[in-house]
């Protein structure tokens, strides 16, 4: 029965590939590089292209999804990394005993909150706050210098909001593993540093953190992988752009994961089944990307001796 675990993963990969095959035949690889997702004329008779049936004028370019996915995830990591590292420093160096347990528990609870509840909170709390006050202020200050931050700030749905929500969701991963690593540092290392006259923070900066470089890189990539596949929260705050690339940091975006979720209803209307197949192609692509990212992260973490 134990074999069912690896078999289920293989089954997911194989069946997604089979389901995506008609779309792969129709799209080739060009679909990766243009932003033109169009299900075609639903009321016309299907035509045959490359040996498969599709609706006239159907097109499945997903460049805007790839850009949206990468931008939101990298931006999220950019926010989450310093936040997670500093929070870990606070927990490991600033707190001890029951206070540390309680503090760590608070941060780890962030990882337990369901994604859709983050979406709800982002939709009802974050979007009005950011859209009405923070973003106009950002545009008025940084926006004068950097065009990415300039007007129009939109309604609050978009790239920056999605990244902030994602950052909060992946922070616990970084904090928990770094905290454990700092706490587990041999006392002799600390004492050696202190005896040379370094302060506590200098020991941390010069001795402890440099020793955790691999762990930090590995866990960041792991967090990136988590952000790439996040669906519901992004779906609710990203504005779900179609066929458009963001010009400013406030513009609506779509990610591969959220697009699969939002497009299934309309894809089911396609009588040729090509739209469902094209979504399977996106799912396959997303799976390949996250598997590659995760395998890289696991490899690095394994080398750093950290195993969850």
């Amino acid at each position: 029965m134990a074999a069912l675990l690896p078999l289920s993963l293989l089954a997911v990969a194989v069946f997604l590939f089979l389901s995506a095959w008609p779309a792969i035949q129709f799209n080739g690889f060009a679909f990766l590089l243009h932003s033109n997702w169009n299900l075609g004329n639903m009321y016309a008779d299907p035509v045959t292209v490359h040996g498969v049936q599709v609706l006239p004028r159907a097109n499945y370019g997903v460049w805007f999804l790839i850009v949206g996915t990468l931008l939101t995830s990298f931006l999220a990591l950019l926010f989450a990394f310093p936040l997670g590292v500093f929070a870990a420093i606070f927990l490991a160096e600033g707190l001890g005993g029951p206070a540390r347990t309680l503090g760590s528990f608070l941060i780890e609870l962030l990882a337990a909150v369901p994604s859709v509840v983050f979406g709800l909170w982002g939709y009802l709390v974050l979007i009005p706050a950011l859209g009405h006050t923070v973003y106009p202020w950002l545009a008025d200050t940084i926006g004068r210098v950097l065009p990415w931050f300039a007007e129009p700030t939109g309604s609050g749905y978009g790239l920056l909001t999605a990244s902030i929500v994602l950052a909060i969701m992946v922070v616990p991963l970084i904090t928990a593993s770094l905290r454990d690593a700092i706490v587990a540092t041999p006392t002799a290392l600390r004492e050696a540093g202190m005896s040379l006259g370094a302060t506590r923070m200098e020991v941390l900066r010069r001795v402890i953190l440099p020793g955790q470089k691999r762990l930090l890189v590995g866990v960041s990539i792991l967090a990136l992988g988590r952000a790439l596949g996040e669906t519901m929260a992004v779906l609710m705050v990203s504005g779900n752009a179609l066929n458009s690339l963001p010009h400013t940091i406030y513009d609506p975006v779509s990610t591969m994961a959220s697009f699969i979720a939002s497009q299934l209803d309309s894809a089911m209307q396609d009588p040729t089944g090509m739209a469902v197949s094209a979504l399977a192609q996106i799912a396959l692509l997303l799976m390949l990307i996250s598997v590659a990212v995760n395998a890289l992260a696991r490899g690095l973490l394994w080398m750093s001796g950290y195993r969850q």
């Binding site: 134990a2 675990l5 997911v12 606070f90 509840v117 709800l120 009802l124 519901m232 299934l264």
Partner: protein
Amino acid sequence: MTPPRSFQIRRSRRMLDAATWAAATLSFAGLAFVLLHLLGYVLSKGLPAMHWSLFTQDTQGIAGGLRNAITGSLVLTGFALLLAVPVGVSAGVYLAEHGDGWIGKITRFLSDVLVGVPSVVLGYFGYVVMVIGLGWKFSLLAGSITLAILMLPYIARTSEMALRALPSALREAAYGLGCPESRLVWRILLPSALIPILTGTLMALAIALGETAPLLFTAGWSNYLWTGHFTQEGVGYLTYVIWSFIGEPYPSAHQLAYAAAFIITFMVLIINLSARLLLLRRR
């Protein structure tokens, strides 16, 4: 009395230290604030929306109760647990007892990879294979199997860790008394590792309860109580209510979404908390 000048730490060093402390404190405070704000928000919106009729009525369009969704969430995750626990625990036993060869290494790696597969991808797999391919339509079985695949690696991992932590003297003593391996696993290893395995299973349950994306494609939705059919019939669940009803322009729909968010969040937190307490008490 100030120390001699040569013993003082230079101001630039002290400033950098203070800045690090400040950033650390602010980061932690910010994250804690976000968590407490989120929980407080769900509580303050959800509590006024709670009503006895939520538990006695089914959803009618965008009003009514949540009986169908609450039971649906429980039935979906319950069946998923029923499927995932035997497979996950036996994978854990295999990995802990015989997992040092190349088969074990590959299995462990694939299990780690499975954790990283986005849940929406698993959901789409469930959709093309079970909902369409096998013709089950949106159904309980499709939803439960998808959730079970999601839970598998977590259960396998915690079971493996729990069994590996048991002293090898236990195994040697059992073999020394002439115990066959099946008896060793069933009567000695699994009972000794019961608590950590239970903890891991509870954590996986909490994750599955809070999932939405894989169920959108597999369980569908239903305004009625689960009728006992495993296929052909959609099942309602709480997270769908949150996502779908908050976008409706009607206050009654919003009230249901708040109530659903309240129920699911605190159910997940309580399960998470009890799993941690279980582990703490044992130490």
